[in-house]
């Protein structure tokens, strides 16, 4: 399910439109992850407060979104471009890859909330595919 060149262009275009709100989307998306899928808090037991909307959650959401934006720039070679991030997730963080899908869904919800007009079904499918490819690239070094 790789991206067509049209879909890559759609992703780049939409992410560029989103850039003024990318911090909000990142922070909201991670908040929603821990709210909707409470089991994901298991990865954040080292934080004093891993509840939705808390400072560490929002800050980390922004960090993650930064990583996603970085990946947009590497859309033509996600596996190569995300090698070191994959090693981080595989050997250090060891996040079960199923959670990438859950976070992707929360990101899509935030995008549709904040950009209801722009987040058309066509944009939705392109972004969903991109996030799925990103997740695959992140899981590349797992085993």
């Amino acid at each position: 399910m790789s991206l067509s060149s049209k879909q890559k262009a759609t992703v780049k275009d939409f992410f560029s439109k989103m850039s003024t709100r990318s911090d909000d989307i990142g922070a909201e998306a991670l908040s929603r992850l821990v709210a909707v899928y409470p089991q994901t808090k298991s990865y954040f037991s080292h934080w004093k407060d891993a509840s939705p909307g808390s400072a560490p959650v929002r800050k980390h959401g922004i960090t993650i979104m930064g990583g996603v934006y970085d990946a947009v720039g590497k859309i033509d070679d996600l596996k190569g471009g995300l090698l070191s991030l994959s090693e981080l997730h595989a050997f250090m963080l060891r996040v079960d890859p199923v959670n990438f899908k859950l976070l992707a869904h929360c990101m899509l919800v935030c995008m549709s909330m904040i950009f209801p007009e722009e987040f058309t079904p066509q944009v939705h499918v392109a972004v969903d595919k991109f996030l799925a490819q990103l997740a695959l690239a992140l899981a590349e070094k797992y085993r």
Partner: protein
């Protein structure tokens, strides 16, 4: 049996009293067919479904979207007996329509996104959590009679 907090019960009743079935139903099913194209396999007699534009303009898809969304009404009215309420529909989807139950999960995700598009920031994390919990119970119930 599923345990619901008062907030969850109120939230579900509130959502379903406020949503426009005629907008959200079609939007959710449309997104499902566009974003997960393999789901089109179940709608062979719906006419033109070959691209996003065709799906978005397809009246049969729109009508079916409204029907499917109304299919959730029985769960809203019967939150303590959702599994039982869907026994028949589950058998139908298994034995007559032969729908892979994973597709129910995909449609549920599209429903959350369709509502988020309508409600914006009013679709708070807590409300999303309650709504997705409700949908996951319905999804589970619809798959419960498969054999």
């Amino acid at each position: 049996m599923v345990e619901w907090t008062e907030f969850e019960r109120d939230t579900i009743k509130d959502i379903f009293s406020k949503i426009d079935y005629d907008v959200v139903g079609p939007a959710a099913l449309t997104r499902c067919l566009v974003v997960y194209p393999w789901t089109r396999r179940y709608f062979g007699n719906f006419g033109a479904l070959y691209n996003a534009e065709a799906i978005m303009g397809n009246e049969m898809v729109a009508n079916h979207g409204k029907k499917v969304l109304h299919g959730l009404d029985r769960a809203v009215k019967n939150m303590d007996h959702i599994k039982e309420s869907y026994c028949e529909l589950s058998q139908l989807h298994s034995d007559q329509f032969h729908v892979d139950p994973d597709n129910f999960r995909l449609l549920a995700d599209c429903l959350a996104i369709a509502i988020a598009t309508q409600w914006g920031s009013a679709f708070t994390p807590d409300i999303q959590a309650a709504f997705q919990k409700f949908l996951s119970v319905v999804v589970f119930s619809l798959g419960s009679q498969y054999h």
